[in-house]
């Protein structure tokens, strides 16, 4: 398997506070990889740095073999890395349709965009019903569907999802994870951040456990789900 994304010894901070101390992760083509860990472990900071929203203090990020750390956010998107960020961050005063269009902001292949639009509306039929509604007036679950769809509209090679299940009703959580598997089956590699470790380990191929900014444990997701330390700390066992 070839590494699509490789993060080496990443260190990121906000001013004097170091949020990510030493994180190295690899995501291979076609995988679902999950980062789990408690609040403040540095998961979102890692994702934001990969997306170019934050500059690392040290460490390297490679995508398809090319170094990308230090690139601007909009240039990272161009490479095919799309993110559904923490807190959804949809554009509240725009309609669902306009939000989807913005997801495809950099694309010029009109037919491809139209096809992808159909595809995400198949994945989330609820969004089709709300297509002309202002995104800010939708429920949390619907906004989450929109955030994921918007990221998919960028035709990503790597889709990064930050807490897609946060604040959702249990039925919706199941539905989101089912959809994540469907997206992978369509050939998109996924890097998933979750606090819902059980569900994340269930869908993922491999997992990394982050603790105060460092990778504590890593391995096959199915193995980690049985690991005593992981079960105690994150699965409520």
């Amino acid at each position: 398997m070839s590494a699509l994304l490789e993060v080496r010894n990443l260190k990121v901070g906000y001013g004097k506070i170091i949020a990510v101390k030493d994180v190295s992760i690899t995501v291979n083509q076609g995988e679902i990889v999950t980062l789990i860990g408690s609040n403040g472990a540095g998961k979102s900071t890692t994702l934001r740095t990969i997306s170019g929203l934050l500059k690392p203090k040290s460490g390297e990020i490679f995508f398809e073999g090319n170094r990308i750390d230090g690139k601007e956010g909009h240039d990272v998107v161009k490479l095919g890395i799309c993110q559904s960020p923490e807190g959804r961050r949809i554009f509240p005063r725009m309609t669902v349709s306009e939000n989807l269009d913005l997801g495809a902001f950099l694309r010029n292949d009109k037919d491809g965009v139209e096809a992808d639009r159909e595809r995400v509306l198949e994945l989330f039929p609820r969004l089709r019903e709300r297509i002309n509604q202002r995104a800010g007036t939708m429920s949390g679950g619907e906004q989450q569907m929109l955030a994921v769809s918007r990221a998919l509209m960028g035709a990503p090679k790597l889709l990064m999802l930050d807490e897609p299940s946060m604040g959702l009703a249990p039925v919706l959580v199941d539905m989101i994870f089912e959809t994540i598997t469907k997206i992978r089956d369509q050939g998109i590699t996924i890097l998933l951040i979750e606090q819902n470790a059980a569900a994340a380990l269930d869908v993922a191929d491999r997992a990394y456990v982050l603790e105060s900014g460092t990778v504590k444990i890593s391995g096959k997701a199915s193995d980690l789900a049985k690991d005593d330390a992981v079960t105690k700390a994150y699965l409520g066992g």
Binding site: L53, G73, H74, R89, F91, D101, F105, G136, R150
Partner: protein, 329 residues
């Protein structure tokens, strides 16, 4: 209580307008036309305030002074560099180039101000960029004093100052020219913001900069573009003011800037249509107050404008077209 207060104010306003309309209908139309003409000028400046506020939530106090520099640039361009003093073909051609020149000039200055002063402060506490904007305003005024001198300066104009009479109402050619220049600019702006990709990037950046980055939008470039448009409109307003009034002064930006900023707030700051509506409304109210037989008169002009602003904001705090958005978290 609030509703009845609002309707009382509305009722008094209607009575005042009604009495004047019956008493002097021609004069009424006349001052309305004059008011609309000033309102258009305010609108061009107000849009610069509202565009910048809309995208980075900064009240760009230097914007009025940018307009003043546009007026000075136009004066020098037409009278001193190209020696045009009369309304003839050469004068018109120079006017056209002055329009392009002034728009480029002010657009460039505005982009540079953002690049070197405001951008560094984008993540600083709100007061820092605000005070920087006040400082920038003084800086531009100082340039104005150096360039213009500290006293008002008279200029020959190259646009005709004749009149048309329509049903007893005098419409000056200046008014027509103002409309002919301002209206297309406003339509182009509306088109750019609502229909183009750049406009979409502007609206996305205004709502959430990080999310916009994640869409592949170059946020810095988008903000620069917004400052360029705002500056260009101020440049156009500078030329139109200078050519219609014929006088320039270094503190021009403060007076008109304040009115234009008020227009933007009245219409709902951040809202483009609101800025135009607010500007036209203030222009007309000023016109009516200054020119109607039963009114407080010119000396009370500012008082009337700001009283109306306060009343409207008390009733509608977000401005006429501003929306208080309720967003679910």
């Amino acid at each position: 209580m609030e509703v009845s207060g609002a309707s009382l104010v509305g009722l008094l306003l209607i009575i005042w307008l009604g009495v004047n309309l019956i008493k002097a209908p021609t004069q009424f139309a006349q001052v309305s036309v004059l008011g609309l003409r000033n309102g258009l000028l305010y609108a061009l400046i107000a849009l610069g305030y509202t565009l910048v506020y809309g995208i980075i939530e900064l009240i760009n106090f230097a914007h009025g002074d940018l307009f003043m520099l546009g007026a000075l640039f136009s004066s020098y361009f037409i009278t001193i560099w190209f020696h045009q003093k009369e309304s003839n073909l050469a004068g018109w051609i120079t006017f056209g180039f002055a329009l392009i020149g002034s728009m480029l000039f002010c657009g460039t200055i505005n982009v540079l101000i953002e690049r070197f002063a405001y951008r560094r402060l984008r993540r600083a506490p709100k007061l820092a960029p605000l005070i920087t904007a006040v400082g920038m305003s003084f800086l531009l005024q100082f340039i104005g004093i150096k360039w213009n001198g500290s006293t008002p300066r008279q200029w020959p104009t190259v646009i005709p100052h004749g009149d048309f009479v329509v049903a007893g109402v005098i419409i000056s050619q200046v008014t027509l020219i103002l409309i002919l220049v301002a209206a297309p600019l406003l339509s182009v702006l509306t088109y750019v913001v609502n229909k183009t990709k750049r406009g979409k990037a502007m609206r996305a950046t205004a709502q959430d900069q990080d999310a916009a980055r994640l869409m592949g939008i170059n946020v810095n470039k988008t903000i620069s573009f917004t400052f360029a448009i705002g500056g260009a409109l101020a440049g156009a307003a500078g030329l139109l003011y200078q050519q219609s009034v014929g006088t320039t002064n270094y503190n021009l930006g403060f007076q008109l800037g304040l009115i234009a900023f008020t227009s933007a707030v009245l219409g709902g700051i951040g809202n483009l249509n609101g800025a135009v509506l607010g500007a036209l409304l203030i222009g007309v109210v000023q016109g009516l107050n200054d020119g109607l037989p039963i009114a407080l008169g010119q000396r009370w002009s500012q008082t009337v404008v700001f009283t109306i602003l306060i009343l409207i904001l008390v009733i509608k705090p977000a401005g006429l077209l501003g929306k208080v958005t309720t967003e679910k978290v």
